[in-house]
Amino acid sequence: MDFSSLQPIEVAVTLSVIWIGLGGIALAFASTPRIVTDAVFPAGAVVALALALTGLWAMNAPASAAILPAGLPDLPFHVRLDALSGFFLLLLGGVSFGISLFSSGYFRHGDQPPGLLCLQYHIFLASMAFVLIADDAYLFMVTWESMALSSYFLVTTEHRSEQNRRAGFIYLLIAHLGAISILLSFGVLHGGHGDYTFDALRRAELSEFWATVAFALAFFGFGAKAGMLPLHAWLPEAHPAAPSPVSALMSGVMLKTAIYGMVRVIYDLIGGIRWEWGLTVLLFGAATSLFGVLFALMQHDLKRLLAYHSVENIGIILIGIGLSMVFIGSGHPVAGVLGLIAGLYHTLNHAVFKGLLFLGAGAILHSTGLRNLNEMGGLIRYMPHTAFYFLVGALAISALPPLNGFISEWLTFQASLQAPLLESSVVRSLVPIVAAVLALSGALTGMCFVKVYGVAFLGQHRHALAEKPRDADGWERAGMAWLALGCLALGLLPVFMIGQLNNVSQVLLHAGLSEEALASGWLWLVPTSSAQASYSPVVFLLVIGAVFGLTFLVVRQVYHGRLRRADPWDCGFPEQTSRMEDTADGFGQPIRHIFAPVYQIRREIPRPDDPYPVFRQEVEDRHWEWMYLPVARFTEFLSRHIGKLQQGRISVYLLYSFITLIALLVFAQ
């Protein structure tokens, strides 16, 4: 075989098919779980790494396309791999490499054989890969649906619990609402030509009105999958219900396929972006990020909390993309490129650190059986490795320098500071307000992760565990270490990835960053020009590290390093139990107080003479009452009335057919 003519797309398709094959092997060896955990998951990880490299290759190569010998007669599957797909393949492969390694250790100790789960897992991975390389609406929808279905079965893995079944149902429902909307958007785009390849959709000339309709449908459809407000309700239900590596995959990667779809359809297929669309995306993004973090602060279930943070981060990504659309729509492509790169960089960053945090939550769940933060505490003393990796993830998601979350938030701020370019004074003032919202949600995220880390890992342990929690095993540690390394590398050497993302924007927008920005060298991150802004995480870390070391040495040399252990001081209070520490709910109390109108709070306060007083407080999402329950009631009302048509007698149904025929005969003329 001649390898010189090998195209990235062929490699990507082959690797995805190998994933499905691995799933099949896992099912065949379902009775011997050791083969599944020792061979299939690591093999899947290797495939993931190869796929990531293919993605990187595709970002630096011209687009390659192929037609698969599958699908319906006369309707074959088209696939194509360009820089945008390549970037998302890199994300999928890079993150799932760590998650697959972790899974190899995680499912070893589960109570059920991992064979079936491994099949679903790999089909889920493969369908995500196919979504990213699909080049016609038909293949896109088929793989989109198989992605939704395979993840539905993963969510309901522990289907004996009523709550998980409910979570799965809500997930499936909203996923399908989104899918219908996407399908309709493709229908509008296609404009009656009978050809559903993306190439034909790209060529279709749409009037302004229909283009806006296509945008709105795509935005709603992909927004539902991404967990955008107000369609986020499924996310905090479904993600925690799945086994932890799958939660990591769903939050880290699956949400990003929705971002991929949004960028692909809006930038590539519809084209001709208008600033009004951008403003819509921007405002939805700002609302999503703020509400996401406010609800995250109210959670005490670790996995639910992380899921709400996914909502928040999707908001931040949408802010970046919205800014980019506003600038492009007003004729400032260079600022638009900056916004797009900020959005896409955050997409990658979120995938890496959220994957890491969910894996950390999985490791805790595994060794202690706990998901409730209020029962954890002091875990750093039993699980030092997990504690370290989790700290890296927590600092990264809190957008603290020098880790990766800060880079993308910094780029988003830089993009929003290009606001003076805009002509319309309303938009020009709105953009900085969105930046203010971003600043607020960033700071709140910091608070939330101090709460998580402080309550779960630090302090005294609150739960009388039967045995000492063990740290994560080797495979699990390897998976977390890989993602923690990703947080560090993306944070310290952002220039490399930004150069790659510049290729993506060259393909999508035919514009890139300014020459000066690209020529500034690997050490300095410069978005526009070095007089405007620059940031060097390496120097940043080196200075802190050098001062740390020097201070340590100087203090030891000049003075001494004597140390004595004693009981804690605590202002002299003799008794210190874990009941006196803040719980997760206690830590969030100031937020509940300040932002009270946002939440729906139910309190039960006992009577003064109650011998066994119980205080109960529940904080709920207002969207359920405002939006979901009325819609559900209306649907029930409608179906009750439509149900009257169902008589169950054949004569009535014949009558219906007869009336329909008459009607058609009358109107068809």
Partner: protein, 316 residues
């Protein structure tokens, strides 16, 4: 300016600022004592305290984790970097491009997160209480601070502090209405972030009202000394950021060693003036209840945002 003299200047400036930071604190305390009709401990007192603390044996709780022991050093490193970035004496600093104003805010956030985590590490009631309150103040102050800095960035079309100082310091004297809003907001943030009255009282050990002191209650000896030094550095960093944005006159230009003595004199004068002003503010106001703090900082946030909108409406 060639690279070597640039780095020499950078080192000189950061060492100088690190050394005079306790003096700033001593000066503020002394002014406060005078205003309250006390004789005070003298402006060198913070140095004596630091020396005493470094000499003592450290006492550590049994269950303290490595995070707890590393935090004072991380804190000190963060604050050292902060004062290295802010143009205090001259605008030519080789390290300045390493972090712009956003990264500077990120740096303060990093320090805050670590000190809060250290406060929660031992698991005492006061530690967690302090951490919770500190993060509450922090999440309110940080956006206000960013908005203030953005107003200055929009005027000078740059988020780099050096460019901001050069633009504001070299242009002819123009009154920007937006900067007036920003200055008030910045002052409010400075008070809150540095645990000063009316948000927090740095000299209190009244258990239920303390914030910053509650978090560092478990620290002793050299760890406590580093934490205290870092807080005085933070105060100095904030004052110098304020000077850089709102009173940048007198700073030495790039490559101009002859301007340094003038810049030094100007700096001492400005720091003395700012310290005295801080003491006056702290003497005439009383500490407010913790739940009034969100109102206070919300006002700062609103003022800063208003300043930015003013810039868009009036100044472009």
């Amino acid at each position: 300016m060639n690279q070597a003299s640039g780095i020499a200047f950078q080192v000189l400036q950061s060492v100088l600022v690190v050394l005079i930071a306790p003096l700033v604190l001593g000066w503020v305390n002394q002014c406060r004592a005078w205003l309250q009709n006390r004789s005070g401990a003298g402006i060198w007192q913070p140095y004596k305290v630091l020396n005493k603390l470094f000499h003592k044996d450290a006492v550590l709780a049994h269950n303290a984790s490595p995070l707890f022991r590393a935090t004072p050093y991380i804190l000190f490193g963060c604050m050292w970097l902060a004062v290295g970035i802010v143009p205090v004496l001259a605008t030519s600093l080789p390290f300045a491009p390493a972090a712009d104003v956003i990264a500077l805010v990120g740096l303060f956030a990093l320090a805050r997160v670590f000190v809060s985590l250290a406060g929660m590490d031992i698991g005492t009631s006061f530690g967690t209480l302090g951490a919770r309150r500190e993060m509450m103040i922090g999440f309110l102050a940080e956006p206000a601070m960013l908005m203030t800095l953005f107003t200055a960035s929009l005027i000078s079309h740059s988020t780099s502090l050096v460019t901001i100082v050069e633009t504001l310091g070299q242009s002819e004297f123009v009154i920007y209405p937006s900067m007036a809003f920003a200055a008030i907001a910045f002052l409010m943030v400075l008070l809150a972030e540095n645990a000063r009255i009316p948000i927090d009282n740095p000299s209190t050990h009244l258990e239920l009202t303390m914030i910053h002191e509650a978090m560092i209650l478990e620290y002793s000896a050299r760890h406590l000394a580093l934490v205290e030094w870092a807080s005085s550095l933070k105060l100095t960093a904030y004052i110098t950021i304020g000077i850089a944005m709102f009173a940048p006159w007198g700073i030495a230009q790039a490559g101009d060693w002859t301007g340094v003595p003038i810049a030094l004199a100007a700096l001492v004068l400005k720091l003395a003036f700012a310290g005295a002003g801080l003491a006056v503010l702290e003497t005439v106001s009383a500490k407010m209840r913790i739940f009034r703090a969100p109102e206070f900082l919300g006002t700062a946030f609103m003022l800063a945002t208003l300043g930015m909108l003013t810039h868009f409406v009036l100044e472009t």
